[in-house]
Symmetry: C2
Subunit: 567 residues, 2 copies
Amino acid sequence: MASRLRVLVIGGVACGPKTASRLKRLLPDADVTMIEKGAIVSYGACGLPYYVEGLFPDVNMLTETPVGVSRTPIFFEKAKGFRVLTRTEALRIDSRGKTIRVRDLDTHGENDMPYDKLVIATGGSPLRPPIDGIDLNNVWYVRELQDAASLVESIEKLGLRKAVLIGAGYINMEMAEALVKKGLDVTVVEMFDQIMPQFLDPDMAMLVQKHLQAKGVRLALGEAVTAITGNGKVESIKTDKQAIPADLAIVAVGVRPNDRLARDAGLLCAPKGGIVINSYCQTSDPHIYAGGDCVVNHYVHPITGAPLYVPLGSTANKHGRTIANHIAGLTSPFCGITGTGVCKVFDFTVGRTGMSERLAQELNLDVETAVWSGPDMPHYLPGSKPLIIKMVASKRYRKLLGVQIVGMGDGSKRLDVAASAIFFGATLDQIGAIDLGYAPPYSPPIDPLATTAHVLLNKMNGIAKGIPPLAAKQIMDQQKDVILLDVRTPKEYDEMRLPDDRVVHIPLGALRERIQDLPKDRDILAFCKVSMRGYEAQRILNAAGFERVWFIEGGLVAWPFNVWTKN
Amino acid sequence: MASRLRVLVIGGVACGPKTASRLKRLLPDADVTMIEKGAIVSYGACGLPYYVEGLFPDVNMLTETPVGVSRTPIFFEKAKGFRVLTRTEALRIDSRGKTIRVRDLDTHGENDMPYDKLVIATGGSPLRPPIDGIDLNNVWYVRELQDAASLVESIEKLGLRKAVLIGAGYINMEMAEALVKKGLDVTVVEMFDQIMPQFLDPDMAMLVQKHLQAKGVRLALGEAVTAITGNGKVESIKTDKQAIPADLAIVAVGVRPNDRLARDAGLLCAPKGGIVINSYCQTSDPHIYAGGDCVVNHYVHPITGAPLYVPLGSTANKHGRTIANHIAGLTSPFCGITGTGVCKVFDFTVGRTGMSERLAQELNLDVETAVWSGPDMPHYLPGSKPLIIKMVASKRYRKLLGVQIVGMGDGSKRLDVAASAIFFGATLDQIGAIDLGYAPPYSPPIDPLATTAHVLLNKMNGIAKGIPPLAAKQIMDQQKDVILLDVRTPKEYDEMRLPDDRVVHIPLGALRERIQDLPKDRDILAFCKVSMRGYEAQRILNAAGFERVWFIEGGLVAWPFNVWTKN
């Protein structure tokens, strides 16, 4: 009998088990072993905040298959046909001799394991900020099963009440919701002056901040944590501006790729960390593959293609499939990611795909943007909810570069369509033309994503003169005599208003008749609830010879500053 | 002053108002008039079933803007700047003289209106089957506002209880739900032997049929209605098989395009009806445009491009934008549709985009299909719900041709991604590679659409030997000695089973040990709940030298026949 292909997989969380399972389906004769440093394999780490929130009763459900079978080493051996060694650490790779040195963490015994193909799926680790008190009790990272289990247990047993979340990335957004729903008092501290700084542009972040505050979350933005203090356990979080009383802290300030094994073996890694792979997930040694949170991904885009470190379970699974396919001789390249992410923040869906405006500016790209707001289905249906969409496109190619979506409406669907559109290099015209499913429970006749593309096209064609909310605010702050033209109905005006005495209220239907009330020698910013009518007003005024007219994009729904409301 | 461009728009429901509104934004000086035969303009006809269901209190909300302003002729004149003539019928077009003859339906006066550009947006009309009794009282078409208003009023005032819905297309699916929720007794009669025959393949239709029946809807499939009988009003619906007592009937057996004006003017129309347009919505007379339910669309597809009559409000709006743009000199071609449709049927989302398997076969295309079932988000979240996806792809090009989705899970999102993928000519590998948004409240790490594409690729690569449910049933009916290998856990087996004494139950984890219990000389159909494990079983048996093994695609969740359950 010919010798069997020996495949070693280092890491047993997401990419590792996916690789090993598929490989055994493709090559039943292969000799596949997966080693894992921890005691538990193949768990859904992304589910931890939902366990903390109490949406399911047992954290071990994250290690189970959908029908409740626990994914133990025995499960993998019996059902999937490969060997799993837990509590086993890979110490180093001898790529010339094609062996790895491993240590049994219980017996401390070491030995060498030979391979024909090696898969590095060592994942990522939470960044630990080098501040005093980081090792105090009641400081958690929400990364592994036992973290979440001990957090929940401590909250209950010790009666912890005051949580400070350090870092305002998506993990702490999910944790903020989980802890508020458990009745805790929550403050989020973020060094940047907005939440989700790697993820959202400031205008979109501010809308999520409003929502968080409405849900009772306190935000300390633009504040650096300098120390955690307390007598053995957390008592206070010190920032450069204040001291926040706390009995627990959750640290989520980023993840770094676990690339040490690869670096030590001389494999190519990115300067800021992360193993560099090709489209088949091969490292610079073709017999060694890597995938999951330990690698940097290519950024798939018609215009730019920088490498990107985005650790996500979805990408890890794609890597696993790609690696197994390539080892088995099926070539299905994994071309990269488009930087898509989505996060539930209380009643908001918050998503981004492709480039933010900020990133596009850093890359010196000539972009146009549009902010749109409106309902996710026809207004007459009771389930209709608002969405705010920001779109970034290349001026020269008229191609979509990025989309950000926030709001209570169904943003996840539009995000995935946008991610697909970017993947396929869509122009804005194409986005308006896709034959999306239409029925009232699912969408307005023109989908919000198409409408946003239309606004952006109208801007590029010089028809719509939209001004983004932050730029409008800047004009309001700088120009004393600016006219804020509210073209909503009297009923709407009665219920909610921009709190500014420069507001002139003329309902759109009366604008043509009252046009002489407005001066041509002052800047006019028109707006309504969502700014469809604001745009109409701009066109009507343009036609009457007014040149200094813009509409505030997204209207009051997308206005990130204060609004006066009747109740 | 130069003479203003005169644009006449015939038809005031969807495409008409969209065209006129946008045109006035693009060309404020244009002289735009919209004429409409009915008394009401610009209403959301797609919302009628939801009014009948009682989701909103006043049918006139369908004529209002999202902020409650009624879209009357005065509204259009004041806010949008164009003239609207209701109760005005276009009698004929003189394309040489560039005038239309119109009649005032109140005064019966006639006159000629000149145009530079004409837009035909005359919509569609419900087909009226030529059967006895079709004109009896209490027979409705749900097409116009007054239809739905009088239906709801009659149900309440006359105490109507027994509804027979003639035709099982998407309108009557929505009406079935609406009327059951109003407490009526509902029977759907359909000439074809499945519901939604133009929309779904039989295997997918059967799953929706099961759901309808579970909700108390009676189905009379494969029955032709021969007459409606009653003394002045509906008392019974006669089919070729039975007489069904009824006190109301709703007829929705299709829509035909209102193309008479165009035909009489000598414009090119499709043989089966519908005005033929180019990518700018121009008819065969370049000064005459057409859009909405009166035209046939191009079918955008990398492989086939037949014309298609799919009357939908979403497409009508795209036509309107395209027409206005072209008249104003902005060229943004509308390349066509991909046959996307979505429909809420009680707790199910039912959607299709692209080609069904049946259509692909009619076109003699060499296709492969896969049926997949599974949860729409991780199983540990309480909101997780099942989806069943069927995918049709070209064998030669490995490109996606069509997707059908049914189930309680979020099918609308996957449908829109699939519609985008087909629009961009995606291969199956690309569908697996799109960077879709992942977080537990929105998706499993590998999106259902990607997983279905993977199953299809595995089939094409000869790794997965899936057999679709209907084909499996055929084998079960024809081969007495087939083995039905259930590889689920004992707990699952205890709760639900295939009611067939040829079932052999061996949990997947025990299969390698008990492999000698199975014969190699008989066909084996392996299955589980969703058939991931069924597929694993097939691979394990293949590796052990079994050649006659298939797995039943979609498992018990997608099984359209009876299943035994404990309770």
